[in-house]
Amino acid sequence: MGEHTDYIVEMKNCRKVFPGVVAVNDVSLSLRRGEVHALIGENGAGKSTIMKILAGILPLDGGEILYEGEPFSPKNPLQVLEKGISMIPQELDLVPDMSVWENIYCGQEKTTKLGVINKKVMIAETQKIFDELGIQISPLSKIYKLSVAQMQMVTIVKAIAFDADVIIMDEPTSAITDREVAHLFEVIAKLKNQQKAIVYISHKMDEIFQIADMITVMRDGCHIVTKKASELTREEVIHHMVGRDLSNMYTKDGARTEEFDPEEVLLEVNGLSKEGQFEDISFDLKRGEILGVSGLMGAGRTEVMETIFGLRKADKGTIRIKGRDVRVKNPGIAIRRGLAFVSEDRKLYGLNLSGTIKTNITMAYLSQILLGGLIIQFKKERSVVDDLMGQLKVKATSRETVVNNLSGGNQQKVIIAKWLMGEPDIFIMDEPTRGIDIGAKAEIYKIMDTLAKRGKSIIMISSEMPELLGMSDRVIVMHEGRITGKFTREECNQEILMTCSVGGNVDGN
């Protein structure tokens, strides 16, 4: 083993070509022990790709990799794991029906001399690592009973149990709350002390400056800059990422493009309750308003909104849409009443990934372009789709492009386009900018603003405080299934939101 200052991994002039596109172009990257190296870039910048090369998931097309100074050409993920490099993917691949310790030792089970699984040792080892890192999960509990953050921890421990020296984390905080993030960072700090080299892929600027020692920015498959975190500012990093200045991301002003009555109440929710999920939820939504919904994971925000959209059933309470009581038994009814729903999980609830942009956009309101209520009018469909793609600036070679091949931001635009086709009045957007890059985020904000100016109302669930404060006219905060605060844009700040999110009281409202 080399000294601590030596590079454990050196990637030199690496290149990866996909059909028709250079995903990684001549990128060099070096990792040291005991150092957190943040890899930043917009979606499609090539950061995940280059890490997948290191993890042996993708083959290298050019350049070389040195591991502790020796040439290393990873052929498959197992070989890489054995070498001590472990990648924690964005989508956690744990077996839900197996227990924590079984998952951690899955593929490297310890056995007794007779070749029988040695359960006792593995449980004890798991407990030992948990104790070292201050993780409070029972090694015996089943995975499906854990929260997303806990699963994240299990995946990290799995990497450690494989005796990894290099741990790659791909957007580890995309689905966990701030408090859980803090815990994750404590764990990362401990790993750092154990002289592990850590690669941290993320979009979130706050986190990166909190945790990274080194920062590498990638853009369009190219290496842009590598510097010590202390030598870079937030603005510089953003500038490197987008290649342009983004000082004003949140576009929000009062100007309206269409005449409407801003006092008209479009949606009124009264005393909505569901045993064990949320209780006594009441709020209203005015025309042309963006209503932010703040709260921690598990506060019941998504559940409330899914109930309003007819994806779940409430025990009690009423939903009034445009002055009429509506029993929303299924999404079809909600859609007919003018609601639209942009889910927090694009791939699971938003898109037909194997379908084209065109079929995705016309999925919800196909009836509008039918001849005789039966036959699709293809010409009309094409013009509707082209129009919406133009309005929302969906970047793709054609409307026939398969949605799976689009970046996260463009996928999100396709979903919004789908709803726009029906000109609904009320948009429910659950984490509308999750997992999309900064440039696309700004575009989504702009779209939301345009919609509000046109008299559409938006309910935006978000876990990102700056986004909530920047975009909302009013904010409601939820904690453990109840509304713990309602604020106007002027009354609101990060502290107030955080206090209410953890169940505290704020005077004045």
């Binding site: 194997s354 379908g355 999925m363 070679t397």
Partner: protein
Amino acid sequence: METSKISIGRILSKYGMYIAFGVLFIALSVFSPVFLTATNIINILRQISVIGIMAVGMTFVIATGGIDLSVGAVMALSGVISTSLVRGDSAVPLIASLLAGIAVGIACGAFSGIFISKLNVPEFIATLATMTMTRGICYVYTDGRPITGFRDDYKFIGTGSLGVIPIPIIIYLCIVLLGIFFLNFTKFGRHVLAVGGNEKASIVSGINSARIKFVCYVISGFTSAIAGIVLAARTQTGQPVAGEGYELDAITAVVIGGASLSGGSGSVLGAVVGMLIIGVMTNGLDLLNVSSYYQKVIKGIIILVAVLSDRAKKK
């Protein structure tokens, strides 16, 4: 991440099955003097028509991500019920017996459909149960004996022809055109592919996915019934054992035609090409005096090649 470049490799993988079919066709035309005669071509088409008709319904089911194992048994039941009504000098009008056969097929499809869409029984299990029960009912109804001696007007459906074209081929063509119409040109077809591509997303978009799936099994029951009637008429017997194993042939045709068993893709035209490849290959090997034992081996290879080229296409 995409490209507008057109490479030979892409064309090959995209139209691989059509090209393979062309090559096979030309090769057989060269090697066998009999192959490219009108009689032989019509013969091939007539042979594939029965399973081909079922494959159209199967395309809808597979496009939703489902599977229908009951088609072989359903076709047998439709065959025996409809033929039993027009035996000897029965006064039952032909159309009534045909409608009875079709109604039975639709009922079987609806039966599977209810279990799958309303009670969330896995497709494989639900249709396996329907298959087993339907086959049992065939035996109970016929006491295990084939139904013979039915009227000529019924037999005409299988043996007659319009000009030079046999009726089964015409029926096949009609079903194919209907299938293409509904899958490619209507809201229903679009919704079928949406449900198969991502059922949860389709529900959020307001699509009643349970109803779509239900209807697809009804369609499959319908096409199985038509196939059962054609087969009984052509073989001039209502066999309770008819169609044993046909479900796998129908699935094979759909898969060779480029459909993914996980749903969201599939085309009726693809299923026709899949059927043609199987039919032409079987016929060609017969003409070249290759034992039917080998034919099965080759069919298996074709399935693998088809699926592999489909994989390559998606990468």
